[in-house]
Symmetry: C2
């Protein structure tokens, strides 16, 4: 795997969870020094003991001030707060600053207000695991996974090339798009599905309170449809709270689709119903084939 020239003198990773720890492991051969910033002492000690980072601190300023590459791996709103309130004054000029937040518009907007000279670009690696701690860090986490890059007002042509080289060093697949477009796409494929799963389980739970057979008879279809409702609440509410507008648009579209199906079903217009179901089924099968080949 060619690094495309990625190299850091000091790589600082802010937030040592699964994503940050995996980033450190995947990039350590490309950096002379890897520094981790995390508020949790146990996490810092674990990262040092396991050789995930070479230095660790709980002080953001000390962690980032000498870095030439900084990757922000904190939750979305912690990222936004860091970008708005503090980090701009800590960073050296020419530092490459990238994040891994699951929504991009607010983050990229905050990056755009950083001091001129900081090379800031939004990032969203589309990968993860069921659990989230540094103890499940994995150097291969990003390999062959899409890594969305969103330009900001602080993204120069050089920023873009450095970010692409970083993504290539991770073994990920760079996809460049505008931040608002990214947020609309993830509202479609991730946040809408999450809310549907939650509302469906809430409906079943309320039914089950009058008839326990709901839980006894639920099977494979329900298992798949309810899985997202079991996601980490703090993480999901952090993510969806920073993408409310796109989600509201998608919810409005979804309601129309659902109402159309209901109309045909209740109106007993079966020919129309099967004609509506067919292209949806085909779209799903086509996507599933594409996704399997990936």
């Amino acid at each position: 795997m060619s690094s495309g020239g990625f190299h850091a003198r000091q790589l600082t990773i802010v937030g040592l969870g699964l994503m940050g720890g995996s980033m450190a492991l995947a990039l350590k051969d490309y950096a002379e020094k890897v520094v981790g910033v995390d508020l949790d002492e146990t996490t810092r000690q674990y990262a040092l003991d396991q050789g995930i980072v070479s230095e660790a601190t709980d002080d953001l300023k000390n962690g980032v001030k000498d870095a030439d590459v900084v990757i922000l791996c904190a939750p979305v709103r912690a990222l936004i707060s860091m970008l708005r309130n503090r980090i701009g004054s800590y960073l050296r000029s020419n530092t490459l600053l990238i994040d891994i937040g699951s929504t991009k518009d607010d983050i990229c907007e905050a990056m755009g207000r950083l001091p001129i000279g900081i090379h800031a670009i939004g990032g969203h690696p589309m990968t993860g695991k069921e659990s989230n701690g540094i103890d499940v860090s994995d150097a291969d986490l990003y390999i062959d996974k899409p890594f969305v890059l969103c330009a900001t007002r602080r993204t120069t042509p050089a920023t873009r090339l450095r970010a692409l080289a970083l993504v290539e060093a991770l073994g990920a697949l760079p996809i460049e798009m505008e931040s608002a477009r990214h947020d609309r796409v993830v509202a479609t494929i991730s946040h809408l599905p999450y809310l549907l799963s939650v509302a469906m389980v809430a409906t079943a739970d309320s039914e089950a309170q009058v008839d326990e057979a709901v839980w006894h008879l639920a099977a494979g279809g329900f298992r798949d449809m309810s899985r997202l409702a079991g996601s980490d609440i703090r993480m999901m509410s952090d993510i969806i709270s920073t993408n409310t507008q796109a989600i509201a648009v998608l919810l409005a579209q979804f309601r129309v689709q659902l109402a159309l199906l209901e109309k045909m079903l209740i109106g007993r217009d079966e020919e129309q119903l099967t004609e509506a179901l067919r292209p949806v089924r085909e779209a799903r099968l086509k996507w599933a084939q594409y996704y399997q080949r990936k």
Copy 2:
């Protein structure tokens, strides 16, 4: 495994698909003769060649007239039509008649109008496979799966005991409930999830028409949530068309749940949002543990 005394002189299975073929295989040791009724000649020939049935016919009357046990394994509306229009006059008195339709209220109502003396009871084995032909028939398909039994006006205490013995012979787990209750439960755990999956994929498909990145970035969560939208259309539209009232009730409840989530999200009432998400997540995790242990 004890048969609980199940025995048939002539067991007739109407409809030789996955469910009917598997029924024949699972019960052949309990019947002196197994007759299959199917309109498709290739299917009949296959069933004979593979020893799934000992006799096969395309004539419903000839197939059932000498049977003491008849299992209807056709699609729901074909079943209803058979029950309303023909089969009553073909059956001998004291024949045990059971079906495997995925909705029960209309079927049980039609069974209740059969001639007195026919022992009719509704059945819904909660099992299946991705594909549906007789070529994937499996003697073990019903083992340890719930098999719902719904009494009809033609269910005597003896009918019930014979049906329970049949379910036991299959190795399935009998669950007795009233047909309207069954339909409400399956609307909750199966039909609502199907419609949500379809409306979600329809929404994504419409988004993808302006931005292909939707398909490129969709991943595991979308895969799970979209799987049901790939179900067989004829089968699903047959099923949901016979359960419109319960589905409409569930859709109304679902809409309320979704609207509550949207209100909290858009209103930026995050404490309320996480308080709403928490019990739903707990309900899902609790059910998933129960389901895994099964």
